[in-house]
Symmetry: C6
Subunit: 270 residues, 6 copies
């Protein structure tokens, strides 16, 4: 009935294909080694799920600052697994759901996954699924309880499941007791040195000539941004998503692109 299961899940798989494409629309830029390494670790977990008898369930958490690329990376790992069942659970498709509807929608995906021999579920933006509001520390306890159980519940015998959750509010997940539900946590770091920044600028071709790009880098160095690995000292701390957004704004005024870029980064990064 392996064949059967495949057929059963394919339509669902088809739907997710589109959703996954949507979130990695802008592609992955390999702006530093961490990007590659994180994707490789992801692959290892995929292997563990595929082969180990004792751990048919593995749950991991991708966390990092807002816009650092968590969703795109999680979706990429999922897509590369080539498991017959791959699904994205995202708050985007649950606007206006009450907590019971959210729990039902989430449980449905897990229940569906149990029919496939191997599955990946990307649970995106957990704090939003929880309806988290920092003021008053409000959240949906119903959703929380469901996630606590679903992230730890073994699939039925002979079935295997990888859960990849993402959050930009890891401390909140710890406070509500959800961190303990994960077998492993992976940090998605923001861009924090000039080398990575230049790599991105080069990739998206903000500047027409290398000369222009180098001039911009010079200005940024003068403005106090630094090279090297020491994240806390470089003055730079920006997610790839926000960086791409700033670049697009700068692109609107080709003549002042460098100034706008430096200005926006300084407004944020220092």
């Amino acid at each position: 009935d392996f064949i059967n299961a495949l057929e059963e899940v394919h339509p669902a798989f088809g739907v997710s294909e589109e959703e996954l494409q949507q979130v990695i629309q802008n592609g992955i830029i390999y702006y530093n080694d961490n990007v590659k390494e994180l994707l490789r670790t992801g692959q290892l977990f995929v292997e563990q799920v595929r082969t180990s008898k004792r751990t048919p369930l593995v749950s991991i958490l991708l966390h990092g600052p807002s816009g650092s690329g968590k969703t795109a990376l999680g979706a990429t790992i999922a897509q590369e697994s080539q498991f017959p069942f791959i699904k994205l659970i995202s708050p985007d498709s649950m606007v206006g759901f009450n907590e019971n509807q959210k729990v039902a929608a989430i449980s449905k995906v897990f229940a569906d996954s149990y029919k496939s021999p191997e599955s990946v579920i990307v649970v995106d933006n957990v704090e939003r699924l929880l309806d988290w509001a920092p003021l008053g520390s409000r959240f949906s306890n119903a959703v929380l309880q469901a996630l606590l159980v679903l992230f730890a519940r073994r699939p039925p015998k002979g079935h295997r499941l990888l859960v990849i959750a993402t959050t930009s509010l890891r401390p909140v997940l710890t406070e509500v007791g959800l961190s303990e539900a994960f077998d492993s946590e992976l940090r998605v770091a923001p861009i924090s040195n000039l080398e990575s920044l230049e790599y991105v600028l080069h990739s998206v071709e903000l500047f027409e000539t290398d000369e222009q790009r180098r001039r911009a880098m010079h200005m940024l160095a003068e403005a106090g941004f630094a090279s090297g690995e020491d994240e806390s000292m470089n003055g730079l701390h920006i997610g790839i998503k926000k960086l791409l957004s700033i670049i697009e704004m700068a692109r609107q005024e080709p003549d002042h692109a460098t100034e706008r870029l430096v200005g926006s980064l300084m407004g944020l990064g220092m």
Copy 2:
């Protein structure tokens, strides 16, 4: 199907036309350079949405004290975009809605916008949409969660959206975690020097003669109000909306217009 989309959205567009007119009924008075500059920045964002491939969604926040002209300016930017879909989401049309009805109404507008190739949505008075009450820090978490997702959710492939939100309680938006949803924030400042004030008085013709107006300005200067750019030192701090209201009251007693004007401003501004 561009044509199709246009037809689909036109009726909605028609309705909003009237709503937009209503909120800029009293027109825009260019009482200082900031007014023009803010409108120009608005135009740049319109351009970015229209042209950039990587950022089909841009969300901006107009914030400033009560009555400073946020709604009128937001509506003006929207109207000048000439996008085929322009819509105002306002608490005025949601009196007595419970939070679910609010979420449904708001989501509906966003869903409609996804049918148009290019759209602007003005989300007016966000704190009121949130049912914000300072006493007890009460607010609708359901509306908050919906806005958090909607302000950040990319429209479907090939569609573009500019979101312009307004608030006079920016700190509240920060506290509930909504500030982070915006790509950019623009401040709408109150009137804070005598030059701007005189410009407005002139525009609305409170006084019949220049002589009278100059006498009033003199009295205001004597009362301690000042000229110049330093907002915190001029003693003046009044939104254009309130100023227009005070002027109309003063107009009721033509013989004492100057005295009432000065009196009202002093009651407020010092």
Copy 3:
């Protein structure tokens, strides 16, 4: 369609006539100059609404201690406007309403008013409409949000509206953010000197002879109550409503009227 509108609102007007009469049943006693002045200011606002193009909506707040005459004065201003639509929104007619029913009833009156070219709405006892309870600072946020919008929402083009709200808990209105919704606030002061008191005693003829009344005044002066304008020093601080009630109690024992009056006032006022 002016004629039409008139016809439409008349029945409603008729009902309110009775309600307004009921709250000013005991008439207005002009016990000092403030009474007259307040009514005149009210008239000015009526004029502004009638004539100004830029401010078709004016909202004012009558506030003052319990029983100081707010409802009677608000109703009087409304009645003297002779606008075709005059309506009293009062908690008296909403006992047992839940918050949604309250919001519906209140919105209905505003919606009705938008059909008349000129309207006055007296929103009586706002704290009671809000279901305010000091212990635990409980209130109906649904009603609050409705009032915040309704007090600031312009009537449709060509229609004009004066809103007169009353409260004896102005600090509460400030705490919930409702104070900012008003264009102007008017204080209704309690009776706080012997001149006003004597004027009232004379008006309602508690004593059969002037001699008796003067004797009572003498006793009150000896008891420490004072004449003059300084409200905080006179030891007297009583609303006209409570004063009328005390007078009626004193009237039960004609032989001891003076003693009971002085006793009651001392029990309160010092």
Copy 4:
């Protein structure tokens, strides 16, 4: 239609007759002058309602410690008014009502009273109607809001109403803002000296001979209880209801009645 009204209210009146009898089943013992005086003051308020034109509504509050006789006294004043409509609103008949049902039941009685030319409503045990719980300061805001309005709402023209409320938690009523709704407050004091105590013992004939009673009084005096008016110094502080209960317990063991009486009082009173 006076006749009509009378007929309308009679059945209701009949029902209340029984209820009123039930709460004054044990009669009124005139154990000191305050009892008589309180009943006389009650009569004066009845007169004011009957005769004054300006105050067709009078609301009073009987307050005092638990078991001090508030309900019995309130019912007695009501019954002696001989008004055509007399009704007792008591938590006893509302066990298991939710707050809406309570509000409906209470409003019903007030609405009925407006049909009679003259009415008395005894609102017994207000804290229980409010579902007051000291832990967490919980109460029914719906009931509170209803009472706040009903205690202050004038009956329709030509109708008159006396409201007599009772409570043993006056500070709570003040905290929730209900105290201000009353025109007057009357304190029902506990028994606090030996004279009153002896009067009661005599009335209910606990002892067969005067000799025995005197012996008991002697023992009580020795135990530290005192005579005289100074409530705070006498060591005695017991409601008539509790006292009657203690006496009945003592009556079970005729041979040790004195000892049990003294023992119980000392356990309480010191």
Copy 5:
């Protein structure tokens, strides 16, 4: 109609018979004088209800630490009254009831009791009826309000009622204002000296020979447990219910009964 009433209540009586038996299944062991005395006091209250005219309602509270025998003693007093209506209200039969269902069930029993000339109602484990949770001090206010009224509401004329409530959380009852509803409180003390303990051991025949029992007592004395009346100094503080449970555990290993007994008691009592 005495006969009638008897017939009416008999079926209910039958049901309770079984329930009462269930809770005193293990019988009453007279391990010290307090046991007998408490039962005698209970009888006196039964007499008062049966005979006194002024107090047709008496409510008493049995309180004491967890497992001290409150339920068994309350049921015993009730059963010995031989009143025609005897009923046990217990949380055991209300698992999963919401607060309204609880209130309905409780009220039903009181309403039924009013049909019998004489009744006893045992209200067991009041804190559980209240859904009391110490964390957050949560409780059902609906149940609380119902109990507050029902414990104090006189049965209809000619009917008599004894209410016996039990709790192991008397401070909670005081905090929620329920303590005042009782005419009297009786403490059920735990076992706190070696004499009582030995009496129980003897009764339930844990040891086959007196020799063995005495050896155990000796070991307990050496372990620091003491004889005599001073509850706070004896180191022993255990409810009869828990003691019986420990004894049964010890009985599983006949060879080490003494050691297990001493071990368990030391784990608890010191």
Copy 6:
């Protein structure tokens, strides 16, 4: 009707068989003496329930850190009892249940158990049944109240019940007052010395040769982990479940198994 009862419960028993198997899928590894001892104590409680007349109900609590093996051990004790009714109550089968549905499901199992002469119920992961969230200390009071009663309610005459509950948050159970419901508590300790660790490594054959395993143990000793009984000093503190998970991850990279194992343990244990 013993036969009857057996037949009634068998189907239920069948279902649980599978559930129990599922939770002890990986078997029990006897890595130290405590494991055996705990299972033996469990057997003693089974005996007590089977034989004692006075205690037909025994409730015990297995508590210990997350992943220490509580569920597997509880299920093992239950299965070895060979009672005709054995059932697992687990949050896994209640995802998305509201509190009433949870209470109903739980009560159903207890009600079913009362039909069997002897029963074991394993109530797994009590904190999850309670919907416990540490942030804001939220929990379902309805479930709590049900458990408080069910854990203490004696089965009907002639029936016997053993309740085995598990939790990794024992302090929470104490805070909500649930600890007192248990007759006994058993601690399931984590693995905390190198001997136990080596025993497990050996059992699951992570390393192909003894040589490799010994090298790993050596590295761990050098890393600071210690042998012996003193739990707090050994630096090691890991549940068997987590340990098995880490071992499976290490197994993915056979060449670096030792390094990954040591790395993971150091990341956790120190």
